[in-house]
């Protein structure tokens, strides 16, 4: 049973890790890397490491996602699809 849960989570993590490299939008890539961190949290809980899971969820997925998203704004890479279309139309 626990093996199947781990299998689903591992497949999700590997898929989003590939998505980080393939997605054109950097906002989506940052979100996908946060998905990798959250999958890691689930695996840590399954491996009886609740303290590591808490830290990974708070710092690895949360804080690092916030840092990267704020950096996207400073780097001029913050383009969400709808906003880009609005700018093109205007």
């Amino acid at each position: 049973m626990i093996t199947w849960v781990a299998l689903v989570v591992v497949v999700l993590m590997l898929a989003s890790a590939v998505a980080v490299l393939l997605l054109r939008s950097f906002v989506a890539a940052v979100a996908a890397s946060s998905v990798v961190g959250l999958g890691l949290t689930v695996l840590f809980v399954l491996m009886r490491a609740p303290d590591v899971a808490m830290t990974e969820a708070a710092v690895g997925a949360g804080l690092s996602g916030v840092i990267l998203a704020l950096a996207l704004r400073r780097l001029g890479l913050w383009h969400i699809e709808a906003a880009a279309e609005d700018r093109d139309r205007a």
Partner: protein
């Protein structure tokens, strides 16, 4: 068929994450994507370290909770990973700061454009005309024939297309 256990699945996931991250750092053309790939490789390494301390049927290593006679999973790799996660975020913040400085200085984060602009900057600082390519270097000096073809054009993929960048 090999035994399809929990440890096998997590091992495959950890190695896969490490490989995808390392591959992404090598093949990416954008510095920010390299940073994301670094974070992924780091996640794979953390997962691998925690997996080394895992023991099937073990309980969480918390004193006073549960049966004290039951076997625990090894807490040492978990403590190491706890530190590594926080250090990883610190490394990411430092890398982001460096990326912001690079972006302010050059206006791009694409590796190929950055290489061309840095070459132009170096040539301007040295007071020579920027060489268009390895075959047509600055001042028309022909280069001596390369002794080994493998390293002749190292680090230079194509002739610099950015003529408009020069002052």
């Amino acid at each position: 068929m090999m035994s399809f256990t929990f440890e096998t699945v997590v091992l495959i996931g950890a190695l896969g994450l490490a490989v995808i991250g390392a591959l992404g750092m090598v093949i990416s053309n954008h510095l920010f994507r390299m940073l994301l790939a670094l974070a992924i490789a780091e996640s794979g390494a953390n997962l691998l370290i925690v997996l080394t301390g895992f023991r099937a049927g073990g309980v969480a290593p918390i004193l006073g909770a549960g049966d004290p006679a039951a076997s625990m999973v090894d807490p040492i790799p978990q403590v190491l990973v706890l530190t590594a996660i926080v250090i990883g975020v610190g490394v990411q913040a430092l890398a982001v700061a460096l990326l912001i400085k690079v972006y302010q200085a050059y206006g791009t984060l694409d590796v190929r454009e950055l290489r061309d602009r840095m070459d132009a900057d170096v040539a301007a600082a040295a007071g020579v005309e920027a060489d268009a390519s390895q075959d047509a270097p600055a001042g028309g000096r022909p280069l001596s024939p390369a002794p080994s073809r493998g390293t002749a054009g190292f680090g230079r993929r194509s002739p610099a297309p950015a003529d408009g960048l020069r002052p």
